[in-house]
């Protein structure tokens, strides 16, 4: 609530529920988004992210609860609420028969950009999304990466105060993902951005605040930093030069390391070992275990060439978060 007090709230969701027949897609979710925030919706596929974003965007109506966008109710004042948002759906649907420029002009007119400013707005969207070079191409002839960017351009062409992006990097190659994330961060400077993803590193790269959603329920929310600390490494990968048996024995004797796995496929003189932390280890204990492991290897006369923590996937974070809330059954 403190964050909401500091920034004027632009999206307020209270007790939102959406049912499709007997299936509950979103279950009593409440949160608020302040102006200028970049909020990441994080959850596995089918968690209810897309449904929530569709309700925010005004495409589907809530079964229960209240959603306001810039103080406009999405049900009672839908048109005004929709004027405040730019939305990119997950599948990025576009009209394949239109040229990129034609499409963005059409969308700008639809979003009621005044005629005098339409050209400039379209140019800005083209430039920001990096699609100037394909402006005169037919959308149907574009690659997936370009189509995704046309979808982004569409979301921002009306210069809406709020941008909602559903899985904005799905289907892009690593270079395109980096560009898209940079664009989203840039958008954050003068837009409020809400995006969804099932990739943990994506919210860490883009978002200032994270909402974790699991089976339709909001499991946790907080600044990205807080989620990052939840993301404990589960193992450490060490590359050593020397006898692998000695190295394995050294690591096996270190407190807090449960199991050591020899990784194959490392070239040259190096050997890669995967040391998995003991279950009971807390964050500080793990750090100490790494220190001791390296010291032991060096003392045994082995050369340490690389140390890297691994693990801490989205599944691990969810497990950590839901363990207390949902005790395991017998």
């Amino acid at each position: 609530m403190l964050a909401a007090l500091q920034r004027p709230t632009v999206i307020r969701v209270s007790h939102l529920t959406k049912r499709y027949g007997a299936r509950v897609a979103v279950d009593d979710v409440s949160f608020a988004v302040g102006r200028g925030e970049v909020v990441g919706f994080l959850g596995p596929n089918g968690a209810g992210k897309s449904t929530t974003l569709r309700i925010l965007a005004g495409f589907v109506g809530p079964t229960n609860g209240k959603v306001t966008i810039a103080d406009h109710d999405v049900v009672e004042d839908s048109l005004e609420a929709r004027r405040c948002i730019g939305y990119m759906p997950e599948s990025v649907p576009l009209y394949p028969e239109m040229r990129v420029l034609e499409y963005l002009r059409f969308r700008a007119e639809l979003k009621r950009v005044p005629r005098a400013r339409r050209g400039a707005y379209v140019d800005d969207a083209l430039r920001l999304s990096g699609i100037v070079e394909v402006a005169n191409k037919r959308i149907g002839h574009l690659s997936k990466g370009y189509r995704q960017r046309v979808g982004l351009a569409d979301a921002i062409v009306g210069k809406p105060p709020i941008v909602i992006l559903d899985e904005p990097t799905a289907g892009l190659d690593p270079n395109q993902i980096r560009d898209a994330r940079a664009l989203i961060r840039a958008l954050g400077s003068d837009h409020t951005v809400v995006l969804s993803t099932h990739i943990l590193s994506e919210v860490e790269a883009c978002a200032t605040r994270v909402l974790l959603i699991h089976r339709g329920k909001l499991v946790a929310q907080g600044p990205t930093e807080a989620i990052r600390t939840l993301r404990n490494p589960t193992a450490v990968e060490i590359e050593v030069r020397g006898n692998p048996e000695i190295a394995e024995r050294c690591l096996g004797n270190v407190d807090g390391i449960g199991r050591v796995v020899h990784l194959h496929g490392s070239g040259g003189h190096g050997v890669r070992l995967h040391a998995i932390f003991a279950e009971a280890m807390a964050g500080e204990g793990r750090a100490r275990a790494i220190e001791q492991a390296v010291a032991a290897l060096v003392a045994a006369g082995l050369g340490v060439r690389g140390v890297r923590t691994t693990g801490g996937s989205l599944e691990d974070v969810f497990e950590a978060l839901t363990k207390e809330a949902m005790p395991e059954g017998p």
């Binding site: 005004g58 929709r82 599948s91 009209y95 239109m98 639809l110 979003k111």
Partner: protein, 249 residues
């Protein structure tokens, strides 16, 4: 209603950028040209032509020619209006823009209606040719075209509604064709039922055949006009409600 224009323009663009519209127009004009030729040829060889049987009245009414083309034309014209957008998912970007459901329905409907008018426009040339070689009652011609416009507008509204009610273009086409066929057969029932019975009156009221005969002979009956305006407004209203209902599906 501000969103009417951009959607209307895009619909027309989408229609004419695909071959479908051009194929439909070409087929329509070839068929209508043949009809016109056959009718004029027929009347030219008749020794005694009475005043109430003219190429004009036969072109627009009293023959099955008009219904055949309109039947075959309307379902493929309207099938894609909503069904296509729902299949491809573009309905999601369309409906999350600040547009009202009524504006979307009206814009799409206006676009097919414009296409329909554009199809009929070249046939005015036939009448000009007819007028040059003989006397032509332009009042009757205007009344006949009013009939063509009203019948077409009502059929297109029904097709538009069918497209909004299903996700499949094919089903939308089949539904439209079925409804139009039932409507036509119901009208033909006028000749099959006993004069004076309620069924006869109902059939006569909805009979496209009878309506077009009146329009083609220069009679613009207000009852017919009311019937068609209702048949335009009602499906469009249902289509608007259907578009609203998607949100709650």
């Amino acid at each position: 209603m501000k969103s009417f224009w951009p959607i209307y323009k895009r619909e027309l663009f989408a229609f004419f950028v695909t071959p479908l519209a051009w194929v439909l127009i070409v087929v329509f004009l070839i068929v209508q040209g043949m009809h016109f030729f056959l009718l004029v040829d027929h009347f030219a060889h008749q020794a005694d032509v009475t005043g109430d049987e003219t190429p004009l009245s036969a072109f627009f009414g009293n023959t099955v020619l008009l219904y055949l083309v309109v039947f075959l034309l309307v379902p493929p014209m309207t099938m894609r209006l909503f069904a296509e957008e729902r299949r491809s998912g573009t309905i999601e970007t369309l409906m999350t823009a600040p547009v009202s459901s009524a504006a979307v329905v009206l814009a799409k409907y206006a676009a097919v209606l414009t296409t329909y008018v554009a199809m009929w426009l070249p046939t005015v040339l036939y009448l000009v040719i007819l007028g040059r070689t003989g006397t032509l009652d332009w009042h009757t011609a205007a009344s006949a075209y009013t009939g063509v416009l009203l019948v077409g507008a009502a059929y297109l509204a029904l097709g538009c509604c069918a497209s909004a009610l299903t996700r499949s273009q094919f089903l939308a086409m089949i539904w439209t064709a079925l409804v139009l066929l039932v409507l036509f057969i119901l009208g033909i029932g006028e000749f099959a039922t006993r004069q004076g019975s309620v069924m006869h009156d109902v059939c006569a009221y909805v009979s496209v055949w009878a309506h077009m005969n009146d329009f083609a002979s220069g009679v613009v009956d207000s009852r017919h006009v009311v019937f068609y305006v209702t048949l335009i407004a009602l499906p469009l209203f249902v289509a608007t409600r259907a578009v609203d209902a998607w949100r709650w599906g």
